[in-house]
Subunit: 118 residues, 2 copies
Amino acid sequence: MEPVDLCDHAAALTEYWSQKTVAEANGNLFKVAKGIGATNWHTHDDQDETFLVLRGEITIQLRMGDVHLSEGDLFVVPRGVEHCPLAADEVHLLLIGPSVTSNALGGKPAWSYSKHSA
Amino acid sequence: MEPVDLCDHAAALTEYWSQKTVAEANGNLFKVAKGIGATNWHTHDDQDETFLVLRGEITIQLRMGDVHLSEGDLFVVPRGVEHCPLAADEVHLLLIGPSVTSNALGGKPAWSYSKHSA
């Protein structure tokens, strides 16, 4: 059994706002992602979405106000709460939840499918 | 809603191998802990236990061999797998699972109840 180097996995991603599952436990997936700019506003009605910042900073925009996260911060977006992550610079994330949410309905913007990291 | 600074929460702990729940999502708890030395060998039959190293290093001793974790590494000890975490120096952890496991049956050594961090 091998440890999962989260920063290495996140750095190796080539597409923004896509999630790569790196581990699973107790019905939850551990997924790395990199982001820049904003996703679309969206809601997950079936699951809470946990953000843990591995590198950089991100603002979780909520209709009730913004939540700013720095490296080492964890934040849970409860199910049903509309949100729109926004990163001025590239951010690397660990996302935790029972399934992958990075589809079009999950907020993934159209441009992110073709934009690759430098 | 506020972000959870995992490193701050871990640093504020005063007892080794005790878990403090800092967030909850999808039936799993996010718990910070600090460790030094070894716990007892133990098994969780009811849950997988996920380790994420926030600061320092830790070796997860398994009967099949050791797994060494550095900062930013994640490792899942599957349910039913006997393990014994060992840290030469103080390590700060995020542990994820459906309940707190830091009781005597969960491997917490007797000395850790009275030993406080410098």
